[in-house]
Symmetry: D2
Subunit: 338 residues, 4 copies
């Protein structure tokens, strides 16, 4: 169960609530986020929702039978919207494109990319400064200095930044230079990192694990929310399957299912989702048509020379075409009532 | 290599061609279809394409490095269109919807379905009379009598019929009552059935195996084509994965990839592709946006009472909405140049 | 439920039983095998097992909650043993090795293989004369003539034959030359073939589908049994997974699970199970240790020259070593009470 | 390439080696472990191995074409043995059993488990004090206090401790109380954690990712080795597949393949590998027969009351039987020359 507490609930009222929960054998966890205070009750017995709901100091109470609670749509029917400031919003009807290179490589690359994005009306730039790589001998990113450099230019041009954080020790350093923290597929069940990101007041985009289930993704989001951060987005980026004709299997089914199970915005990553440049357009459009609130995609001035992921990265010309198609598709989808 | 033969190639010219192929150690297979005669040359050595191409009796010659040959787009860049007669065409720009119940159940059900489809401008009706079922104790379909009954009503209302054939012995009996033979996912590598369907002059819709690769699907289509039947459609119907939140994982990636690898039309089956009724709309629209030439979907007057697959079947009201959305989406996709 | 009927049940007794089943809304299917007559009752209501069990003409009655019935261990706790005659038995404590080439290629190959097997005490020879191949242009086997030739030599040397049947039309022709019909992974849900094999009195070895579930394998076996043939063996031959370091993922878990769910013998195929020659030994031994009643493996005088599957085929020297290890491992397993 | 450096290589000799590597466009990484200094050269050009091998200050040089280098068997044919002190060794012929509960729960549980293990000759105890849990509301372990308590008793009874570390911040605190650090499946690509564990002089047991490839496991091990720690063990614990009859699919194939690709010891985890208590015995024995150097398994006085993983945990009676069988199987395997 989820109990939304009144802002000014008294200690006495709170204690009475605890007593009540104890009396029906419910373990309770208090959650305080940027927006509200909650009690999450976890137990197995059936209970009289009104008997608790009418207690003083309580704003509302909901039964949530899912394993995840706070990220479930069972208690919050209205879609969550992430507001990045300056009018940049994601979800609940607001569609966004996040684009940029796999890795931040140089100042020249940053400048070129920003120019391209600004010209095409993209407001959020993606890029990696900490790169999870299968091999320890591969390029692992420019680190915090790269981020600061990028921030300087992005700020000057009104662009928002989304970038991956790989460990708790990096959070504080990165904090002032990031608009959205990305949790990568390999860290989707790094519970300590999720705990820590639940304690900051910045939006988090959580990628589904390489073979993560939809349920595991929602439970991972629950880690963040239950630590105090409600600003979460879920990202479908393809799962691992037996098929060898492409890199990952974009799980298009996950998009409408996540939208139904959760109130959080759902982002589609067509670049990793198929992993082959010439097919990115088709699956990006499919992703929007399936209901994604945003698209995150890899774009590079010269994909052939990218430090990483070049084989799935669009060049500027391809990107211009797709950005336009995506915006029109998002509008078209509303038009046909899908 | 694929060699297209002249219609009036002489025995002498043919023998010379064979000699030539023998001389470079190529095994050759002669293929005669409804439309043309071919020689498929299978070998490993490099060869001078012009030396063969300029021989008499030869219309054209193509190098095809794929394991499959005749279904490859490497020799036939133009998309294949399947013409069912009466103006009903699939592929190469012609979009179709195939709809109907999982199982043909009764005359009343047939009549009701046909009325619904005709009213909504659907020209192809799907339905099973031979049902592959996991358990021997489940309903296995009305068989040939059900098909004849169905045909009577479909014919009278100008509807085309697509239905599954499960074994070679059924082909002859079904022949006169079927517009498209469907090969189900469980028979996608039933090579004897594929051989036999290659010998009839009827369109075949071949479903991808339950865990079939894209390459295996194309090789299965090659069986049909190389036995003499060029009228083939490929159907993506979801693959088996670890995810338990739905029935199958619709492989949206397969749609653009099949379109690029092959000249054959690609059909999407959203009903099996996700297996949950309320999400069929989203993935059907995504499938069209990814490039599918047709949608095949399960519709029933009362899904709750369907003999099979009710959980993934739309009712008439849902179907009316989706048919309209699909047509508009197909048109929209062309409009944005996708 | 499974009802075992008395041999001499009267028509009147039978009709009364039917009435009784109808009265509790159970659909009933009569099954007559080589050994017994059964009624399979399929329904949802709970019923009084004694009320039926005490009716006249009934030998025994069992509740079986599994989706499969006759192949379940819930009604037949004793393991089934397959008797091939001449003292060659499989299951219920009797361990066997089946070995031979992927494809039967020539008389010389047959003779050489038989000599090798006889010298090493192997009593069952495997080999394919009808070969399911991904590509229509690959070698598809020597067919019935190859089988007859093989049979002549096998018979003369006291060897039993196991070989794959691909379609119902082949059964009659093959009947006299085969000791065990093999159903391949691609045909594991070819229900018409299973129906037909249920009507012959020959042992069947049923391979698990390429991505078949354990439940589907048991249901496929139920097709054979419910058509009248109790002589069935189940074969674990590796499933399809995302891993690329080998050909298939031998599902070692399936062995103890199949043994527990069913009374049928379980065979392990290490050759397809890993698909890499140098690792066949390790997984074959593991398979026996996990409880397999027999091993089926590919052996060829010169694997490098085999028409098919050479990369996973042992040569004679490797085979001699493994045959000895397998026999000792089977004995050792009993010794330690596993 | 891997270059083993002389202990007393001079600065001048080292610089010359660097120059040489630069001249052939090889990126070089210096690795200093507990045992040796290495240069890892990563590049694409072919090179004259003798021209480098004969330079002064170099002990040996090896070409390693695998993506992973130091963990490859291509340069170190001899199997690595992990020595925990007090005669407890793993690998290169030394077989071990690691047993204990999923979670450390209480002092009473620790004492009872230790008594059971000591009586049965088990020298390494497993148990979790930091528990990765899908849900933030589940029991997450007793933490460092639990570890200290456990250590006190283990030390007193001569038992070695293996337990999971989840984040870099925990390493220092845990250091004195742990004999083997375990990296869990969800952290198998937590590269920062791997980096950090490469900097300690304690053995690490690295679990394969939930859907990790064999190659990814070896690359993860390379992270540890290349940071300076050679004491690594690889653990096969089951992969995620479509099959629902059990929890994970124990990849028995991985055992001989890892043994061939790497010189590191390979551990099998039958408890997670199948996830169902009554089948743990069969797959544990299979794992040893396939070549595992050790078994890690869950044992609890009363599995039904375990805080976690009870459904896959053996009770003491089952454990006594299996420990004996495992030891005999390990000996038997050597006896038959497998």
């Amino acid at each position: 169960m989820i109990i939304q507490l009144d802002k000014d609930i008294s200690t006495d009222q709170f204690d009475k609530l605890q007593e009540k929960l104890n009396s029906i054998d419910y373990k309770s966890v208090k959650v305080s986020t940027q927006f509200q205070d909650y009690i999450i009750g976890v137990g197995k017995k059936d209970f009289d929702i009104r008997a608790i709901g009418t207690m003083e100091g309580i704003k509302d109470i909901h039964k949530v039978s899912d394993a995840y609670k706070l990220v479930s749509r069972k208690w919050k029917v209205k879609e969550t919207q992430i507001d990045l400031g300056d009018g940049v919003k994601i979800g609940a009807g607001a569609f966004q494109i996040m684009a940029g290179p796999c890795s931040i490589e140089s100042e020249a690359q940053i400048e070129s990319t920003i120019k391209h994005l600004v010209e095409n009306g993209v407001q959020i730039m993606r890029g990696g400064v900490y790169k999870p790589r299968s091999s320890p001998y591969s390029f692992r990113g420019l680190g915090i200095d790269g981020l600061k450099l990028w921030y300087k230019h992005a700020k000057a041009n009104g662009l928002k930044i989304i970038t991956e954080v790989m460990m708790t020790e990096q959070i504080e350093d990165m904090m002032d230079y990031v608009d959205i923290f990305q949790v990568g597929a390999r860290n989707s069940q790094n519970f300590n990192l999720l705990d820590a990101l639940g304690k900051v007041d910045k939006p988090i985009m959580l990628k589904r694990g390489i073979s993560g289930t939809i349920d595991e993704l929602l439970q991972a989001a629950e880690y963040i929310f239950s630590n105090g951060n409600e600003k979460i987005m879920l990202c479908e980026r393809g799962i691992r399957s037996y098929e060898k004709a492409y890199r990952n299997t974009l799980d298009i089914n996950a998009i409408p299912i996540l939208k139904e199970k959760s109130h959080l915005p759902v982002i589609v990553d067509p670049s990793h989702g198929i992993g082959v440049r010439k097919f990115v357009e088709s699956v990006a459009l499919a992703g929007v048509m399936a209901g994604a609130d945003a698209v995150i995609m890899e774009v590079h001035e010269c994909p052939e020379k990218a430090f990483s992921d070049g084989q799935q990265t669009l060049n500027y010309q391809e990107s211009v075409k797709l950005i336009d198609q995506l915006k029109r598709t998002s509008a078209f989808r509303k038009e046909i009532g899908a």
